[in-house]
């Protein structure tokens, strides 16, 4: 079903914002963070106005209500990615913290010097640095599935890496620069055949595609609410129950314990074992509202709309002399167009577009090694979500022609 974009844009108050007099914002930076619909803003507002209290341990009405709302949201999130049970959803601050949780808890209990972790050349820094840190501390080895010049993972090279029996394969399901949607189910199946555990960085996939953790057979999967219409400050780690159960706690403190004595403690059961201290309660409620919002529209409809916009954007961008778009063709790609404009630094592109209210991002987008691979320092990146239109792509294209004039 085609999205009624003009109607759903009304759900996002910020899209009416003028960034200067008479200039309405054209928000093409949802890969960095998405905008938030009223349903999410109001759910959080209502929580603070009506139900705010600390969760668990409380018997008064507000505490019970807050606990129920916090746990209901967990249930919605579990259903959204088809997790078998809500206790397999651990609330974290974001994707980065979810990956670090696996690196600190699972990896420190299971990896020793010389063990191989396979990553890819298209990872975000958040799925590189935790492993660099572990390599420095533990002497684990890292190797990388190469990215081809068309922006796809080289699966033959991956097959060869698997012969070295890695303990973990950690990869992004969708690149935040190239937009490449990787064949996650196949990557996971191959990893399992080689005896490796898998971690999926789903920061870009869960917001834009239908993700089913059971169909993927993912062992761990990490994502952030703020990229999927939810608030900042909250994310999730999905894990297979037997893995999560076998892992030592990550942070220690209140809520993550069953009992505490002066010299010992017993950890709580899942998911609380990994949620130390007072969590982001209102944010969890907002996360649940975001999942409701996206589910009501339908992830397949959202993906189809983004595909249409991306196809159009690639076609229009490639018409511009001097523009080079990175990454695979639209059929392998989510709603991301990272490009360079000959003779103009991406910062200058972004700055001049900003005059017309067009918000894109410039830089290495936390994927410096990927840019090195392509021999560039940085790119300009426009990204698309359910609320973007072809008319906005036209504004972007006209804006790029203006940039060319300034630098002519």
């Amino acid at each position: 079903m085609a999205l009624n974009v003009l109607a759903l844009r009304k759900d996002f108050p910020i899209l009416e914002r003028e960034t200067r007099a008479g200039v309405r914002v054209t928000y093409l930076d949802s890969t960095a963070t998405s905008q938030k619909p009223l349903a999410v803003i109001e759910a959080m507002n209502d929580f603070y106005r009506q139900s705010n209290a600390n969760i668990h341990r409380g018997v008064h009405t507000l505490a019970e209500e807050a606990t129920a709302l916090y746990e209901d949201a967990r249930g919605k999130i579990a259903k959204f990615i088809n997790a078998a049970s809500a206790r397999q959803i651990i609330y974290t601050r974001n994707t980065t913290e979810s990956i670090n949780l696996v690196a600190y808890s699972w990896a420190r209990a299971n990896l020793k010097a010389g063990d191989l972790v396979v990553l890819t050349e298209m990872e975000h820094h958040s799925n590189l640095v935790p492993w660099h840190m572990l390599a420095a501390e533990r002497g684990i080895e890292l190797d990388f599935i190469p990215v081809t010049m068309d922006g796809l993972l080289d699966l033959d090279a991956y097959r060869a890496l698997l012969k070295r029996t890695p303990k973990l394969v950690a990869f992004t399901q969708m690149s935040n620069v190239l937009g490449t949607v990787n064949p996650a189910a196949e990557i996971i199946r191959m990893a399992h055949e080689a005896g490796a555990v898998t971690l999926v960085d789903a920061a870009q996939s869960v917001p834009h595609l239908k993700v089913d953790v059971q169909e993927l057979d993912a062992d761990f999967l990490a994502f952030s609410a703020h990229k999927m219409c939810g608030p900042t400050g909250i994310g999730a780690l999905y894990g297979k129950a037997e893995l999560l159960e076998s892992m030592p706690p990550f942070l220690g403190g209140g809520d993550m314990i069953k009992e505490v004595h002066l010299r010992s403690f017993r950890p709580n059961t899942l998911p609380h074992k990994f949620e130390a201290g007072t969590p982001a309660i209102a944010e969890a409620v907002g996360f649940g509202a975001a999942v409701d919002y996206l589910s009501a529209i339908g992830m397949d409809n959202i993906a189809a709309h983004e595909h249409e916009i991306t196809e159009y954007a690639l076609e229009r961008l490639e018409e511009i002399p001097g523009v080079k778009v990175f990454g695979p063709p639209a059929r392998h790609k989510g709603g991301v167009a990272a490009f360079t404009l000959e003779g103009v630094h991406p910062h200058d592109v972004a700055q001049i577009l900003d005059k017309d209210g067009i918000a894109i991002r410039a830089g290495h987008h936390c994927a410096q090694p990927l840019h090195e691979k392509f021999g560039i320092q940085s790119t300009s990146r426009a990204s698309f979500y359910l609320y973007n239109t072809k008319a906005e792509v036209d504004l972007l294209v006209n804006g790029i022609y203006k940039v060319k004039e300034v630098f002519a």
Binding site: P346, H347, Q377, V406
Partner: protein, 131 residues
């Protein structure tokens, strides 16, 4: 903000007068802006009386970072090092003749940070150097 891309900035960006390296040199220092990966290297020759005899910059980055490096290098040739040490944020903004928000200010100040770290013989180009 509207005249951020004044002709003089575009001109210094596209046709810099002082881009290159000095070999031999007395001082050479390079650093990056981690936000955007802009990179600047500055080489200096200093004469016996402590004046900058010659200077060049090299690197890559946006129009603001590269134009301000070219303007900065132009402005210090012939000047005593003691005077170079006194340059700060305002000196750069005056040369550029524009106002900048906090993000682009980092681009504009990278060359001065690199220059001062080199002159003081420091290991890193830090923000305090230009405040």
């Amino acid at each position: 903000m509207d005249d951020m891309y004044r002709e003089v900035i575009i001109e210094h960006y596209k046709n810099p007068s002082y881009r290159g390296k000095l070999d031999p040199h007395d001082i050479s220092f390079a650093d990056n802006n981690p936000l955007c990966g802009d990179h600047i290297q500055i080489d200096l020759r200093v004469d016996d009386s402590g004046n900058v005899a010659d200077a060049r910059f090299d690197g890559h980055g946006c129009a603001i970072s590269q134009a301000s490096a070219d303007l900065l290098v132009e402005s210090i040739i012939g000047k005593p090092l003691e005077e170079v040490k006194k340059l700060n944020k305002d000196s750069i903004l005056e040369m550029l003749g524009i106002e900048l928000g906090p993000v682009r200010l980092k681009c504009a100040l990278l060359s001065l940070k690199v220059l001062k770290a080199g002159v003081y013989g420091l290991g890193e180009a830090s923000d305090e150097l230009v405040e």
